[in-house]
């Protein structure tokens, strides 16, 4: 049941050079570009978690903004009400908050599949959005809450250092390490007996049940893990952004998470990672280029669904062997 030696070797063969490139990139590219990359890696973590449900369990959630937002708001609450600015406490708070809410929402949602699952996750995430929006004395309402630059491993930002430099250097590496660990853990999860069981449930729920799998329980655990990943992304995102607003709890943000994942390709392991990074560049440049950036993204999404439903990774995966044979 463990990954075959060959596939493990191949995975390492791909992962190590990419890890090395990600490590050395900040030395050559401008700080602004590094922060963009950090955003991309964070979105990749969110998409990776989301895809445990969509790609591996076969459940399309339209409410993952809830966990991203919980991760971000938990940080803001830690700052506002506990006056703590340690990144490690942020991570603890964000993970606990998103895990709690994912456990609760997941418990309610996993009894359903298909469109009902999608609508239920969406409705529950909208409850959080409307609370964040309306309880302004607690959440800052539509102005949101500010989050200062945190201290990393107990070391605060040096006196007088530019915030951008800090984010583009130390904070980037912090995100990178968590990203790499997150990817490795997810790789282990999807190749473990647990991950195989999820795929069995995705492919045939009835048969999985017949062999004795307690389907709802596996779905629930997958849901919680997925929520924790997305919450972790929200926690890492908020110091970078400096502010959290109800926008990230709104269901259209859930739509974006679905977008990342499909852009990269949800039938592959690396697809969501590629999708998160590429989407971030796409959105950033579309926003800089035109006020009609939503239209640009919409057209990309429509074309993607019509022409490249396997996403970037899926299409590349199909093209590479073909090209090799042709050569």
């Amino acid at each position: 049941m463990s990954p075959s030696i060959a596939s493990r070797k191949r995975a390492l063969f791909c992962a190590v050079p990419i890890g090395v490139v990600l490590f050395f990139l900040p030395l050559v590219i401008a700080p602004y570009q590094v922060t963009l990359l950090a955003y991309g890696l964070i979105f990749a973590i969110a998409a990776l978690g989301f895809n445990l449900l969509l790609g591996y369990t076969g459940l399309l959630s339209f409410g993952h903004s809830a966990y991203f937002g919980m991760g971000a708001y938990a940080v803001a609450f830690v700052v506002k009400y506990l006056n703590i600015t340690s990144m490690e406490v942020f991570l603890l708070g964000g993970t606990l908050a998103s895990a709690t809410i994912a456990a609760l929402f997941g418990f309610l949602c996993v009894r359903y599949t298909r469109i009902f699952f999608g609508i239920l996750t969406m409705a529950l995430s909208q409850v959080l959005w409307s609370l964040a929006f309306k309880f302004y004395w607690f959440t800052g309402g539509s102005d949101g809450l500010r989050v200062p630059t945190p201290s990393l491993l107990g070391v605060a930002i040096p006196e007088g250092q530019d915030k951008m430099i800090f984010l583009a250097h130390r904070y980037y590496y912090y995100v990178l390490v968590i990203f790499l660990v997150g990817v490795a853990v997810m790789w282990i999860i999807v190749h473990s007996p647990f991950g195989k069981t999820l795929q069995a449930i995705r492919d045939n729920e009835t048969r999985a049940e017949f062999v004795g799998v307690q389907v709802w329980r596996y779905r629930w655990i997958a849901f919680v893990v997925s929520g924790i990943y997305t919450g972790l992304a929200g926690t890492l995102w908020v110091p970078l952004n400096g502010l959290t607003t109800p926008d990230i709890l709104h269901w259209t943000f859930s739509g974006k998470i679905v977008f990342f994942t499909v852009l990269g390709g949800f039938q592959t392991f690396v697809g969501p990672i590629i999708g998160g990074v590429v989407y971030n560049y796409l959105e950033t440049y579309a926003v800089g280029y035109t006020v009609y950036w939503q239209m640009v993204l919409g057209v990309v999404l429509v074309l993607l669904v019509l022409i490249l439903p396997a996403g970037i990774a899926g299409t590349a995966g199909r093209l590479v062997p073909k090209l090799r044979r042709a050569a």
Binding site: R114, A123, V127, V291, L297
Partner: protein
């Protein structure tokens, strides 16, 4: 006197609830009709409502500029509905038809893409500022209920909503078209085997659904104006309505719209902070207890 006052207040609240319910029924009924026949959840449905609102506001604005008498303005109300229907008639065969055989994830995604496109298309065509059609709103005047003054136009909206519901009911239960629509909804393959042109029925159903959403936008725009983002907000409320009433059921949409209208009106009046949360929560509870909705077919 205090007692009479309370009754008057209650009457105003109920009328407002009916006003919300009428518009919501038009939007959610269209969404539900499309789902019932085609099994597609159209995330861009709210944007078609916005298209209806913008088109009517634009037409009314033009007519006011050229000094038309107010009666002509009423003839402009359907402009929004017709625009939305025309848009639907174009979108269904071009964007949705290629996807019927694919997994429903893709159908959701393409309508999400459409949502993003339509949102910006409205900005592109009508600009970033709200459009108003209050000229129509003012022509009706107002009536007094007890001490409070109530805008007469609201009653027009309620009446139009009622007529639309009745017309739709007649169309679906009393005409041959309705029989074909219901047959396709129950068993698309059997209907097709019996000679129904399913592609055409799908297009008609989608167009009709868009027409309803557009009509909803058209009748409310004199009161609320047309703003960017109105479609996304409306979609979520329409979701709440169809989830409560039952996806695919028109009676359910009517019941859901009335419930949401009432809860919303009294929510805004008495506990504004949690008004929206209560609605989403209601939807979640109904889904948990009766996933098919109160009046939906069991899944």
């Amino acid at each position: 006197m205090g007692h009479v006052r309370a009754v008057d207040d209650l009457l105003v609240h109920l009328l407002n609830a009916l006003l919300y319910a009428s518009v919501l029924f038009l939007i959610a009924g269209g969404l539900s009709l499309i789902y019932g026949v085609m099994r597609i959840v159209n995330l861009a449905h709210g944007n078609l409502y916005a298209v209806g609102a913008y088109a009517t506001a634009w037409a009314v604005g033009r007519a006011l500029g050229s000094g038309q008498p107010s009666l002509t303005l009423y003839l402009l109300l359907p402009v929004g509905a017709i625009t939305a229907a025309a848009l639907g008639a174009i979108l269904e065969p071009t964007l949705l038809r290629p996807l019927y055989k694919r997994a429903e994830e893709y159908q959701l995604l393409i309508t999400f893409g459409l949502l993003l496109i339509l949102e910006d298309l409205l900005r592109l065509i009508f600009g970033p500022y709200p459009l108003s059609a209050s000229g129509l709103y003012e022509t009706v005047g107002s009536l007094s209920i007890g001490d409070s003054v109530y805008p007469g136009y609201n009653l027009v909206v309620v009446v139009v909503g009622g007529i639309a519901a009745a017309a739709l009911w007649a169309l679906i239960y009393k005409t041959k078209f309705g029989v074909i629509l219901r047959a396709t909804s129950q068993d698309m393959r059997m209907a097709s085997a019996l000679g129904v042109n399913v592609n055409r029925v799908y297009m008609q159903a989608f167009t009709l659904g868009c027409f309803m959403a557009g009509l909803g936008g058209a009748i409310i725009v004199p009161e609320q104006g047309a703003v960017l983002g109105m479609g996304v907000d409306a979609l979520i409320l329409a979701f709440v309505v169809v989830v409560i009433g039952g996806l695919g059921s028109l009676e359910g949409a009517l019941l859901g719209a009335l419930m949401v209208g009432i809860v919303r009106e009294f929510g805004i009046a008495f506990f504004p902070e949690v008004e929206l949360a209560i609605l989403y929560f209601m939807a979640a509870v109904v889904l948990l207890i009766r996933p098919a909705g109160l009046l939906g077919r069991p899944v």
